[in-house]
Symmetry: C2
Subunit: 144 residues, 2 copies
DNA sequence: CTCAATGCAAACTATTTGCATTCGA
DNA sequence: TCGAATGCAAATAGTTTGCATTGAG
């Protein structure tokens, strides 16, 4: 579903309000590349809309996560990052520890194995995170 | 290898010093159950050794991670957690989002698939993290 | 002796909250 | 109009650091 429509529905269902700032943040959020932190989005927004406060960006991103159009990520650098969620698809990440490059991938077989692991422990999976840390091709080559 | 021996070797190789506090922290660390935060270990230590400071616990855990006898974990609750590393074995985690229960598991097939994913992206994996979040059997039952 | 480690307090970073004001429904 | 949202500043939580003192090698 269209994220903007999804957001509008969530907002009206919850009796919240759809402000100018929220629309600006949503557009910038969708147009940005994934995996940015609150701060990065805030700085980017500030270039064009210097009146938008950090707290608003933060609260709005939380709201996006709440209504399912954003996912929170944490790659261990102490910053929470966000990325747009598109439908039901799920992907995981390769993270280059040298240059910070992030590559997304999907591997249905891994997901299946996860289900079987969960089953043997009588666990009901709600979600998961899988990150592979290492060197991308370029950094591995430069490392020689 | 014995973690204590491993630590002693690392310390002398690096020209560091092996203090009383470090031994106390190491013993408590090894005796504790896994997945505690710096704060939890600090509070536990303080019961018996009230003179040990938080900063010392923190720096010592970092040191353990550095010399390979501890692994840092982050389950998204904003606290860094540590667990003892035993040899080469690797395990991942099932995390109950309701009661906080953490179950460890190993699944070599998943590791293999990770390698193949990495290979298709010319990635060299150094390490990875896989966490499955959901409900444990007890919480799923209580949820009915 | 020398230099690393300690313990305390203070600094820092990321995140969250209180509150007076603004603004959407 | 009424309550949610905003923007600012201040509070909080977790982590890290500066520095005078202590202690291991």
């Amino acid at each position: 579903m269209d994220p903007i429509k999804q957001f509008n529905e969530y907002v009206s269902r919850k009796g919240l309000k759809n402000t100018n700032q929220r629309m600006i943040i949503l557009e910038t959020f969708l147009a940005s590349e994934s995996h940015f932190s609150t701060e990065e989005l805030y700085l980017k927004l500030r270039e064009e809309y210097p009146k938008i406060g950090y707290a608003t960006v933060h609260r709005t991103l939380k709201l996006f996560a709440e209504c399912g159009i954003a996912a929170e990520r944490n790659f261990g650098d102490g910053q929470t990052r966000f990325e747009p969620v598109h439908g039901e698809e799920h992907h995981d990440h390769l993270v280059c520890t040298s240059c910070g490059l992030i590559i997304e991938f999907e591997e249905p077989q891994i997901e299946k194995l996860q289900e079987s692991v969960a089953a043997t422990h009588q666990f009901t999976i709600e979600n998961h995170r899988l990150e592979l840390y290492g060197l991308c091709a370029a950094c591995a080559a430069a490392d020689q």
